[in-house]
């Protein structure tokens, strides 16, 4: 589903240039549930932005669903984002002057779906996430967890292949975080690839694959089976600390 070959990315120009990604090689299969971890400045958000076609990269290649994503026109990138990807952000990024339903329905507006039809579909998705009674509420009338669920509904409405989540639980308390992760897990079980960036170990532990970034390169990939062992080791580390 996702294949990265030797991807480099730097910000700024000339002597001020900051080399953030220094050759990322990565493969994520269809239906994967992956978390990207790393300390701040390790390049995890940059990687996610490149995966989500929100940002471009300097070197290497990125294949999404077998298609090379490089030097794409803005229009094409927007179309691809709309059709293939769903985004969940730490700060929710709901449009403040639109109510929950309108926020959820917005991606369908860019697909040219009629207002009536997209509002109906938005209702369905809100219902799935248990927010039907909040459909007419504005974002500032919702709690953090509710906002994130609205954002998830919005990311799902176009039936994307991949959900890209940047610190989806970063602004939420623990129990709400777990609720959100539960939802993402369910989504993944429906066959959608989910990639999240997090720095919380317990959140990462809920995924089936963890990619650890360090100084712009992948330092470690921990898979499914290893996860339990890793979890164990992690809790030991905690005990020592």
């Amino acid at each position: 589903m996702i294949r990265l070959n030797n991807v480099h990315k730097s910000y700024g120009t000339g002597s001020n240039s900051l080399h953030v990604l220094k050759g990322i090689n990565l493969e994520i299969e269809e239906g994967g549930f992956v978390s990207i971890m790393g300390s701040s400045g390790s390049g995890k958000s940059t990687l996610l932005n490149i995966l989500g076609i929100l940002d471009n990269y300097d070197e290497g290649s990125y294949y999404l669903n077998g298609m090379l994503v490089k030097e794409m026109s803005e229009k094409k990138a927007a179309q691809l984002r709309n059709e293939m990807l769903g985004f969940v952000f730490q700060s929710f990024n709901l449009i403040s002057f639109k109510n929950a339903m309108e926020n959820v329905a917005l991606p369908l507006y860019y697909q040219g779906v009629s207002r009536k039809k997209r509002n109906k579909i938005a209702h369905e998705y809100l219902d799935k996430l248990g927010l039907l009674s909040w459909a007419e509420h504005m974002p500032n009338e919702l709690s953090g967890g509710q906002k994130q669920r609205v954002a998830i509904a919005r990311s799902l409405i176009t039936q994307p292949k991949i959900i890209v989540a940047d610190e989806p639980t970063g602004a939420l308390d623990t129990s709400t975080s777990y609720e959100v992760m539960e939802i993402l897990k369910e989504i993944n079980e429906d066959g959608i690839t989910v990639v999240i960036v997090t720095h919380e170990h317990d959140i990462a532990a809920m995924t089936r694959q963890i990619i650890r970034l360090k100084d712009g390169i992948i330092s470690e990939i921990i898979k499914n089976g290893d996860l339990k062992q890793w979890k164990h080791q992690y809790s030991k580390e905690l005990e020592i600390a």
């Binding site: 929100l54 229009k75 984002r81 709309n82 639109k98 507006y109 207002r115």
Partner: protein, 420 residues
């Protein structure tokens, strides 16, 4: 462009950002409103003055005799030129002359009725003076042909003289004294385009006879058939040449024969108004530019304020052109509606003012027998000008919105989203 869904999206955005919409709209509406008032006032002033001018015959001309200043045909300068009744006949024979009146100056103009008296000007004239100076009758009649032929002692009083001497009593048929000579009042008049009416008119023949004038005349007032200033000048020269030949002086000698051409004066005044109009347009354009700058500023702020929203829209699949379209159409919609509102309010105010001015004029005219004095008339702007100005502002607003919108659409969604 006529995608209903797109408009619904825009209208939904406008509805939920009332302050922003109001500010953008207000600057446009205000610009157009001020422009309407400016242009309307300019037009009103111009129309008013033009109308006042028109009431006095604009193609009138005055000529008076003096002393020669240039030696001519062997005669020395400083020779007194004297006009007589035969000169009047000569002027009347010139085909371009419409109406002509001669005047003999009488000195000492003490007018008295009973115990009331005052110093005024008694003008001796032919009946045609009424046409030349656009004299309007309030009561009675003007000097007529019979008065001239029979050298009757008739007098037409100016309104102010009547008010002072008669104190609203009946005056027609009464006798007043001009330099102790009794004259019979036959009419009361007002001077066209004037605000003071302190002249009394008596027949020129009577004036000459009673006040020792023989057949002498001092000046002529005439109207001519001329449409352009060149034509008017040509006629003036023709009259000058005829009199110069008869009295043997240099036709170019302005001391021997002075003249004043009202058409020339009128056209000059109109040129001043042309200049005032240009000036008003410059100010109007300035107002428009201020409006455009206002719209541009607000559009810049709007785009800045919406950067995050644009980022979100782009992340979920908005193409750059749809982002530009969204911002641009919103700006065009707001400026068009606001411009229209400004237009309606401005035009409404000027029409209201027009109604008020016309009423003032009507009451003034009613109390002064159809002679209202007002320098402000029909202060309205042509619809074409108004519509063009609005269009200009809308287009400028669109351009002002397009540049930042284009820039906003070009930035990476991630940069827009980072902008907290």
């Amino acid at each position: 462009m006529f995608d209903i869904d797109k408009w619904q999206e825009i209208i939904a955005t406008i509805k939920k950002n009332k302050m922003r919409t109001f500010l953008t709209g207000f600057s446009v509406a205000w610009g157009i409103f001020m422009l309407m008032i400016l242009l309307g006032s300019g037009n009103g002033l111009s129309n008013g003055v033009a109308q006042n001018f028109m009431r006095d015959a604009v193609n009138a001309m005055w000529m008076w005799s003096g002393r020669t200043s240039i030696p001519y045909q062997g005669m020395k300068e400083n020779r007194q030129i004297r006009f007589t009744n035969s000169d009047y006949d000569l002027i009347k024979k010139i085909p371009e002359t419409e109406f002509a009146s001669g005047r003999y100056y009488i000195s000492g103009n003490r007018l008295a009725y009973g115990n009331e008296f005052g110093e005024y000007t008694a003008i001796t004239c032919h009946p045609e003076l009424k046409e030349v100076e656009s004299i309007e009758m309030v009561q009675g009649r003007f000097i007529n042909e019979v008065d001239i032929l029979q050298t009757r002692k008739s007098v037409v009083l100016g309104q102010d003289i009547y008010d002072a001497l008669f104190k609203k009593q009946e005056a027609i048929g009464e006798y007043i004294k001009i330099n102790n000579v009794p004259f019979k009042v036959v009419g009361i008049c007002r001077e066209g385009g004037g605000t003071r009416h302190r002249n009394a008119y008596i027949p020129v023949s009577t004036g000459q006879k009673v006040f020792n004038g023989a057949n002498r005349l001092h000046n002529f007032a005439l109207t001519i058939n001329a449409q352009s200033i060149e034509e008017s000048k040509a006629v003036e020269e023709k009259v000058r040449a005829a009199l110069a030949r008869k009295h043997k002086f240099d036709p170019t000698d302005r001391a021997a024969l002075g003249s004043y051409n009202k058409l020339e004066n009128y056209l000059q005044t109109m040129r001043i108004f042309q200049a005032i109009k240009i000036f008003i347009w410059i100010i109007g354009t300035g107002t428009l530019i201020a409006g455009v700058v206002g719209v541009s500023n607000i559009m810049l702020i709007v785009v800045k304020e919406r950067t995050k929203e644009i980022g979100i829209r782009k992340a979920i699949g908005a193409s750059p052109s749809s982002v530009v379209g969204l911002i641009l159409l919103e700006s065009i919609l707001i400026t068009t509606v606001a411009g229209y509102i400004g237009l309606v309010l401005g035009t409404g105010l000027m029409e209201g003012l027009n109604f008020f001015v016309e009423q003032q004029y009507a009451t003034a005219a009613a109390s002064n027998n159809g002679n209202g004095d007002i320098i402000f008339r029909n202060p309205t702007v042509s619809l074409n000008v108004a519509a063009t100005a609005t269009m200009l502002l809308v287009i400028a607003g669109a351009i002002a919105g397009y540049i930042p919108a284009k820039r906003a659409a070009r930035i990476k969604p991630i940069e827009a989203l980072r902008d907290e």
